[in-house]
């Protein structure tokens, strides 16, 4: 079966890849491009562990086709830090122990970044409803929500 050639932008850099039409974007990121930071928890859009930001919106890559990346801009967890300096969200997740096993962490960080980009000063409830698509079984969400609120405060210069 002839593979499709896709040109896209990942973490700000031009990327080309070949993929089967039925391959999901998640399979492409992990198996073709070795970006294993996005995780597969359910392949049905119910756990959020595979979240990336595509054209400014946080999406589940298990529910998108690799070929749909053509001409789009994708930001994965691997692109969140600027070289050596971690993004404030990454720092606050570490600072406030907002992760234990860490499997859901990439999805949470990417989703939280999309939130703060759109709503710099969210309430606790707004954070909880925005992150409702990201399942975590270790933390009970408490420290994750606090870390997002703390990072938001820092990014607002408070």
């Amino acid at each position: 079966m002839k593979k499709s050639h896709v040109t896209t932008t990942i973490n700000g850099e031009p990327v080309e890849f070949l993929c089967e039409p039925q391959q999901t974007l998640l399979d492409v990121l992990r198996d073709e491009l070795n970006l294993t930071g996005s995780k597969e928890g359910c392949s049905s859009g119910d756990c959020g562990a595979c979240s990336v930001i595509m054209d400014g919106r946080v999406v589940c890559t298990c529910l998108a086709l690799g070929v749909e990346a053509e001409g789009r801009s994708i930001d994965t967890i691997e692109g969140m830090a600027e070289g050596e300096t971690l993004h404030p969200l990454q720092r606050w997740f570490l600072e406030e122990a907002a992760l234990q096993c860490g499997f859901c962490t990439p999805g949470f960080l990417v989703a939280a970044k999309a939130l703060l980009d759109r709503n710099p000063d969210p309430t606790e409830t707004e954070v909880r409803y925005w992150l409702a698509g990201n399942l975590c079984r270790c933390t009970g969400y408490d420290k994750i929500v606090r870390a997002v609120l703390s990072a938001g405060a820092e990014m607002r210069g408070q």
Partner: protein, 755 residues
């Protein structure tokens, strides 16, 4: 090294976990993140029937499909004898483990593996599964524990004879085991009671719900050496299980611990790992097997569903005179439910004279039950703590006061026999009484419930190695997989004993070839047992450092002590010497005898039991039956919190799992015995917007048997929530819910019955 009293430099600090940066940048490698050149994809074929005899399996067409490199069935695995398996787990039997990994003769549940293939791509592997023709003789099935206990019930395992009954029964049954614990005289106890409450409870199986599906990569070289990368709660357990199931020496298997994406007890056994190793040996190529979420729900162990009866009697003044429980747990397709642990823990927080607990371990046509965080205790506590609450109301005594009147203390005899040493249960009750939550006002349709929980915690085998590098930095290698942050705690303990800055300490998890045997991560034992091993290894290092300093100073080693990270002359008559830092001594290591490395391999004893008391406020929508948790506080005795953030994380995570268990999580089976909700959409675990912040209070009543007073904390937090939520619902709408989950339809029905 008396670590009990003096204030600490590192213990108790909220440092960043050593594995943290890799996890927040996506670099951390979990089970499915490994791949090797020439790797094949492995897939399993699962029986679609609740109960069926396997008449024949025709793999002919599958074998010849281009790209298929191996097809295996039970015939390819040795038919191993019964043998007890011990990895710090409830004892199971290797023969049953083998049958669960690959069905032999009978497929006992919907999702039971009957064959496996390895192919050059996932698509080809999927196609190959479609070509395997299995002839089944479909048998009547049984799912419910009470139905399975009936004499005429279909037999899941034809030759299963109940243990623990004398004389030994002749007729096989689905009851694998009967267990009983007694204390005092139960009948006399109930006679002395002014008020007796008896209630029947039922619960459904629930899954651990880890977000990472099981994943393994196995690669075998021509000399028969297999390398295995997998996420599990015990890579030594994986090694031992694969060796036993495949008839190999353990040294032929090197198991590398990937980061583990949650386990909660569900990854203390093997599923695909032996199949991946076997297929890599047959093909000479690496084989990767990753479960889909549907497979995790259909094929891996939830904890037991149950039917329970609890009866408690007390005097008017609130002294419990007798407590009795009968617990029947589903074990799934093979014996081994945690009913024994349920019996031991049901009444453990209380000082009781007369106790009788009877447990039945019952096999049914469901996936084999596996441990789930304090296995058996949340169920038993749901029943016992609910009846206690009802008793308090009947006696017109506050639920907290009733617990205070009967609280277990040092010297109290546990329902399962031995007397408690130093324990902190009363301290948790006091902390609850002092907490603002206890007296906070409640709104309309709101209610408040409290409940307590216990877990004996566990020690077991643990190994640690501390290598001092030439620049004075240190690497601590451990043998237990780290899920909840144990690397952070180990680094803190090593830094404390060695007296060096935490930034100089790295903590890693060694693979099975590079560290001594260590039991599974579970039983809340890692910080306790590994901590002991790390402290012993660190003391081994400081001993060597003192000897090296003595050599440098040309004095007798006894004249040198270790203080604040330096070798110091014990007194002036030993000599006037500038203290030597660890780094200074390390720099001279070559001259003074070679690299400095501390070792410890122990069987940690003296695990301190953990107690917790939770308080929960709920609001009930009377028109739809929906329950919302509006406030939650978890209080627990940790002995000593090495890393407070991760102790809080255990309390919060356990509470959230308990709340999900109480309100919406359940396995839904059709009449055909097939699982209807194998996915996160309809297996409803709490999401972020379902929960409030979960406040925590860490009580510290040090465990005298641990250098820093540590008690295990991982499992107690899931024990109280089921009853805390049930008691809060009763307080809100005056309805005693005795069946889990307390989902909206059941609450609405109960409200209507009450009208």
């Amino acid at each position: 090294m008396d670590g009990q009293t003096r204030d600490f430099k590192w213990i108790g600090k909220r440092t960043v976990r050593p594995d943290g940066v890799d996890k927040v940048t996506g670099r951390a490698n979990f089970g499915a993140d490994f791949s090797l050149p020439g790797m094949l994809v492995g897939k399993v074929l699962r029986s679609p029937h609740a109960h069926a005899r396997i008449l024949s399996i025709d793999t002919g067409k599958a074998r010849v499909l281009p790209g298929v490199k191996a097809v295996i069935t039970a015939a390819d695995l040795p038919d191993i004898p019964s043998e007890e398996a011990h990895f710090g787990e409830d004892p199971t039997d290797f023969r049953y483990v083998s049958h669960n990994v690959m069905a032999r003769g009978k497929a006992l549940y919907d999702g039971h593996v009957v064959a496996a293939v390895a192919a050059t791509s996932e698509a080809i592997a999927e196609a190959a599964l479609g070509l395997i023709e299995v002839e089944y003789d479909i048998l009547p099935h049984v799912l419910d524990v009470e139905d399975a206990m009936k004499p005429d019930a279909p037999l899941v395992i034809e030759d299963l004879i109940t243990q623990g009954i004398t004389p030994t029964p002749k007729k096989p049954s689905n009851i694998a085991k009967r267990i009983q614990y007694d204390l005092g005289d139960i009948a006399a106890g109930f006679k002395k009671a002014d008020v007796v409450i008896k209630r029947r409870f039922t619960t459904k199986p629930v899954h651990q719900g880890y977000i990472e599906p099981h994943a393994v990569v196995a690669s075998t070289s021509e000399d028969g050496q297999s390398l295995v990368w997998c996420s599990s709660q015990g890579h030594f357990m994986v090694r031992a299980s694969c060796a036993k199931l495949l008839g190999l020496d353990v040294s032929q298997l090197r198991v590398m611990p990937a980061e583990i994406g949650g386990g909660f007890g569900g990854k203390v056994t093997v599923y695909q790992e032996p199949l991946a190793v076997l297929m890599s040996r047959k093909t000479g190529r690496p084989v990767k097997m990753v479960m889909s979420r549907e497979e995790v729900f259909r094929g891996t162990g939830p904890t037991s569903g149950s039917v329970m009866t609890v009866k408690i009697g007390a005097t008017k003044k609130g002294k419990i005179t007798a407590a009795e429980a009968t617990l029947a747990f589903q074990a799934g397709a093979y014996p081994g439910s945690p009913v024994g642990l349920g019996c031991m823990t049901a009444f453990a927080p209380y000082d009781l004279e007369n106790v009788k607990t009877v447990g039945y371990d019952v096999v049914v046509n469901r996936p084999k039950a596996t441990a789930y965080r304090a296995p058996g205790a949340p169920l038993a506590a749901f029943a016992a703590e609910s009846v206690l609450d009802e008793l308090a109301k009947a006696l017109n005594i506050a639920p907290l006061e009733l617990r205070e009147k009967n609280a277990a203390r040092e010297g109290t005899q546990a329902p399962y026999g031995p007397r408690f040493g130093v324990i902190g249960y009363v301290a948790t009750l006091q902390a609850l009484r002092d907490h603002p939550h206890y007296m906070a006002p409640l709104g309309p349709n709101q209610g408040r419930g409290i409940a307590s929980g216990f877990w004996m915690n566990f020690g077991g085998q643990s190994s640690a190695v501390i290598n001092v590098n030439e620049d004075g930095t240190v690497v601590v290698t451990l043998g237990h997989p780290d899920i909840g942050g144990s690397r952070a705690s180990m680094a803190l303990m090593a830094a404390e004993v060695l007296g060096i800055d935490i930034t100089k300490v790295r903590a890693i998890i060694g693979d099975t070839h590079s560290i001594g045997l260590s039991d599974i991560t579970g039983g809340s034992k890692v910080t306790f047992a590994s901590g002991m091993a790390v402290v012993k290894a660190a003391n081994d290092v400081t001993g060597q450092l003192r000897a090296r300093a003595a050599m440098i100073w040309e004095v007798d080693a006894d004249g040198v002590v270790w203080e604040d990270g330096h070798a110091v002359a014990s007194s002036t008559n030993v000599g006037e010497f500038e203290p030597l830092s660890l780094a200074q001594i390390a720099a001279m290591a070559a001259k003074t005898g070679g690299p400095i490395s501390g070792h410890a391999s122990i069987n940690a004893k003296g695990a301190g039991p953990g107690f917790g008391t939770h308080i929960c406020d709920v609001e009930v929508d009377r028109e739809t039956g929906r329950v919302t948790v509006v406030r939650y506080t978890a209080i627990q005795d940790a002995g000593r919190a090495i890393h407070p953030s991760y102790v809080e994380g255990q309390l919060q995570g356990g509470a959230a799992q308990g709340i999900g268990w109480a309100l919406n999580e359940e396995y839904v089976y059709g009449d055909d015995g097939r699982l209807q909700n194998p996915g996160f959409l309809d297996y409803r675990m709490p999401v972020a917007s379902d929960l409030p912040m979960i406040d925590t209070v860490i009580v510290e009543v040090p465990n005298p048997n641990h250098p820093f007073g540590v008690r295990g904390v991982g499992e107690v937090p899931i024990v109280p929530p089921l009853a805390a939520v049930a008691n809060a619902i009763e307080d809100a709408i005056g309805v005693r819910m005795t069946d889990l989950p307390m989902s909206p339809p059941r609450i609405l029905a109960a409200l209507e019955d009450k009208l």
